[in-house]
Amino acid sequence: MSLTSTRADGAQIVTVNAERIDAAMAIQFKEDMRAETEDGSERVILDLSLVQFIDSSGLGAIVAAMKQLGRDRRLDLAGPTPMVEKVFRLTRMDTIFNLYSTLNEAVTANKT
């Protein structure tokens, strides 16, 4: 699974370069997130704008990635496409994560 990282305004932005986070790649995603965020900043923004589809395994992997960061760091989500947004909304995971409609919005929110 392909993740790339950049930094902006003190946050680490991790971009998912895949069209789907599903059962076939959930474990890999979780492991790659651990490696990618091992010694990163306090705030991690996961850019989901390329992800067209997520299933419950993928959702679980994002929850796991948040837990891996521990209490002192946080995982925010940016750019969910309609189907991804729908899965977060239906499972009420949208009440657990900060979901920003665009990456820009997520990065800007950090300043305030």
Binding site: A23, A24, D55, V63, A64
Partner: protein, 143 residues
């Protein structure tokens, strides 16, 4: 108007992915509305994942057979396998996940049946001999 088609694939995660993609392509070809297609894809993926992960857990991977029937009011998707039956041969309740605890206790799974129940208009399951037959129903057009 009635459109019927069927397909089958081996119950592995990767074959399931391409199998679901093939079903969705056919459904779009027969003009299933886009917004309904989203619901169908999410629910179908969860149902097929369950077959791959649970029905064929620890056994040789058998086939997943899918049959779709779209008429002017309803889409029926029937998913058949010859794996283990559902627990007690009954549909799970699909309660929403409990998100009330601290971050450490947040669930990392158990969303599947809840999503299936939220997105379908009704469900039917039967165990016939060695066969599991699960039907997902969706209202068409959008209400």
């Amino acid at each position: 108007m009635a459109e019927i088609f069927a397909c089958s694939f081996t119950a592995t995660e990767l074959d399931a992915r391409s199998g679901i993609a093939a079903v969705m392509e056919r459904l779009r070809e027969i003009d299933l509305p886009d917004e309904r297609a989203e619901d169908v894809q999410i629910a179908l993926a969860e149902a097929v994942n369950n077959v791959v992960e649970h029905a064929y857990a620890g056994t040789a991977k058998g086939d997943v057979r899918i049959k779709c029937n779209l008429d002017s009011q309803e889409l029926q998707i029937q998913i058949c396998d010859v794996g283990f039956p559902l627990t007690d041969c009954a549909l799970p309740p699909g309660e929403p996940a409990d998100l009330s605890g601290p971050i450490e206790t947040l669930p990392e799974g158990g969303f599947g049946w809840f999503l299936i129940r939220e997105l379908t208009s009704r469900l039917h399951y039967e165990r016939l001999g060695r066969n599991n037959r699960l039907s997902l129903y969706f209202q068409v057009p959008l209400s």
